[in-house]
């Protein structure tokens, strides 16, 4: 065990004195930023796609939009996140001549990617809501969009909250690939500490613990939200 405490000492030395904590904080910030913004973008676009996909299909415009949306979903579900990140950063951006930081690119790619998954989650959520809710809204003169937004989607979100929590957790964990385009995340930060202390056991252990802590906190948050959203259910 004397061996292990020496390793901890070396880790702490680099962590505190050689600026390791700055990188860890930056990595933590980036990880959370990419995951949270990715989720927000994903929710917005995903809900839009889900709404298009459940539209009645007897007119031409919904059919065309629906085709486009299912192509989008298949495209983003059919390729790994790393590949999307690399294609965006090294192929698309140079082609259209736009300069973006690697964190910004990561936010965009995570958002677009999670939109594809969330749209499918949201679609099943919307379809789980009793069609009578839509009819009730339409019968009093509310538009399709208004009923969707105020009545159906809030109930859908309540139904899919645990699955959305899962998606968020997956996003947090998948941020470990953003180092492929040069963004600092937890992996990059702890790798830096490891290479500077010539010792990888403790840094990677701490990294794992940090990930677990984040996920635990999110699980608790989701549970708390579920409970507060359940107030309209029977027997609160």
């Amino acid at each position: 065990m004397g061996n292990f405490s020496r390793k901890v000492e070396r880790f702490l030395e680099v962590f505190i004195n050689a600026g390791g904590y700055v990188r860890v904080l930056e990595g933590l910030k980036n990880t959370l930023l990419i995951a949270v913004l990715g989720l927000v973008i994903g929710l917005a676009i995903g809900t839009l796609i889900a709404t298009v996909r459940v539209l009645p299909k007897y007119k031409r415009l919904p059919r065309v939009l629906n085709g486009f949306c299912s192509f989008y979903v298949e495209l983003f579900r059919g390729t790994p996140m790393v590949v999307q990140l690399l294609v965006f950063y090294y192929v698309l951006l140079p082609l259209i001549g736009v300069k973006m930081t690697s964190v910004a690119v990561s936010v965009v790619v995570f958002g677009l990617n999670s939109a594809a998954y969330i749209s499918e989650i949201m679609r099943s959520g919307i379809q789980s809501v009793d069609p009578g809710q839509m009819e009730g809204g339409r019968s009093v003169g509310l538009s399709y969009a208004n009923t969707m937004l105020r009545i159906v989607i809030p109930q859908a979100i309540k139904n899919i909250l645990p699955t959305l929590g899962n998606e968020f957790i997956a996003l947090i964990k998948e941020t470990s690939v953003v180092s492929f385009v040069g963004a600092t995340d937890l992996y990059v930060a702890f790798n830096y500490i490891g290479s500077n202390s010539y010792e990888f056991m403790v840094p990677y252990l701490v990294m794992a613990i940090l990930y677990i802590l984040m996920v635990l906190i999110i699980s608790l948050l989701v549970k708390w939200m579920e409970r507060s959203l359940r107030k309209s259910d029977r027997g609160r």
């Binding site: 009578g132 809710q133 009819e135 019968s139 003169g141 109930q155």
Partner: protein, 264 residues
């Protein structure tokens, strides 16, 4: 007030309505009876285009609702509908259920009025602020709840109400829009027997107040009591119609005689 001209409706290959012609006068109470699958609910749901007619016309105050260019939402504001399964908004309290549509549609109308007033400065119409719209809707909702004796349930969620209470709230939710006509789609079929009475009571009161109503029901006693005219539907057409006396005491068509012998 409502004129139905040669209405047909098919679901895929199945033709449910095979040519309905019907005129409903202001203040009239029309009750539709008939066996299951006869198309009576579908006919009712076509009246406010909850189901789009396959062919034919639904003329409401002369406007053809089946025309895709008509703003159906605006027309539905004046056509209330009550469903078998209530369809209250589960994520809203009772009060919010009643207030939602009046507030949203009023805001929409005020926006339109404001735009008109800008173009034509002489237009002198009362424009309400959002707060005023909400206050009025709330006042109206509370007095409606008072009327059905559920004022104490204003902040309850639908899941905390009994079936009868839900249906009464659903009725006043429609009334909050001040409709010209109310459509009832088997309003008591999903209720426990002991709750049927309280819902019929509300509908009866509404009938006395002179509301135009179309009611699809299996409650023959109630049909006889409130109807000005009874329609008997079978296999997608109106087979016989007349006053409650004519239909219940002197049915002509053998199909109607058979139906009544089973249900009475």
């Amino acid at each position: 007030m409502i004129e139905v001209v040669n209405l047909t409706k098919s679901f895929g290959d199945l033709q449910v309505l095979k040519g309905i012609d019907l005129t409903i006068e202001q203040g009239e109470k029309v009750v539709v009876i008939g066996p299951s699958g006869s198309g009576k609910s579908t006919m009712l749901r076509c009246l406010n285009c909850m189901e789009d007619p396959t062919s034919g016309q639904i003329l409401y105050h002369g406007v053809n609702l089946a025309d895709m260019h008509v703003d159906i939402n605006e027309q539905r504001e004046k056509i209330g509908m009550v469903f078998q399964h209530f369809n209250l908004f589960n994520n809203k309290t009772v009060l919010e259920n009643i207030m939602l549509a009046p507030v949203v549609t009023q805001k929409k109308h005020m926006k339109k009025l404001r735009r008109q007033q800008k173009q034509n400065k002489s237009a002198d119409v009362e424009i309400l602020t959002n707060a005023q719209i909400k206050a009025r809707a709330k006042e109206n909702a509370l007095s409606l709840l008072e009327r059905i004796g559920l004022a104490d349930k204003a902040d309850a969620y639908p899941s905390q109400l009994s079936g009868g209470q839900k249906q009464r709230v659903a009725i006043v939710r429609s009334l909050a829009m001040h409709p010209d006509v109310m459509l009832f789609d088997e309003p008591t079929s999903a209720l426990d027997p002991e709750m049927v009475g309280e819902v019929l009571e509300v509908i009866r009161d509404l009938a006395k107040s002179g509301m135009t109503m179309v009611i699809v029901t299996h409650e023959m006693g109630f049909a006889r009591e409130v109807a000005d005219r009874v329609l008997f539907m079978d296999e997608g057409i109106i087979l016989e119609q007349g006053t409650p006396q004519e239909i219940f005491e002197n049915p002509q068509h053998p199909r109607l005689q058979e139906f009544l012998s089973k249900v009475l």
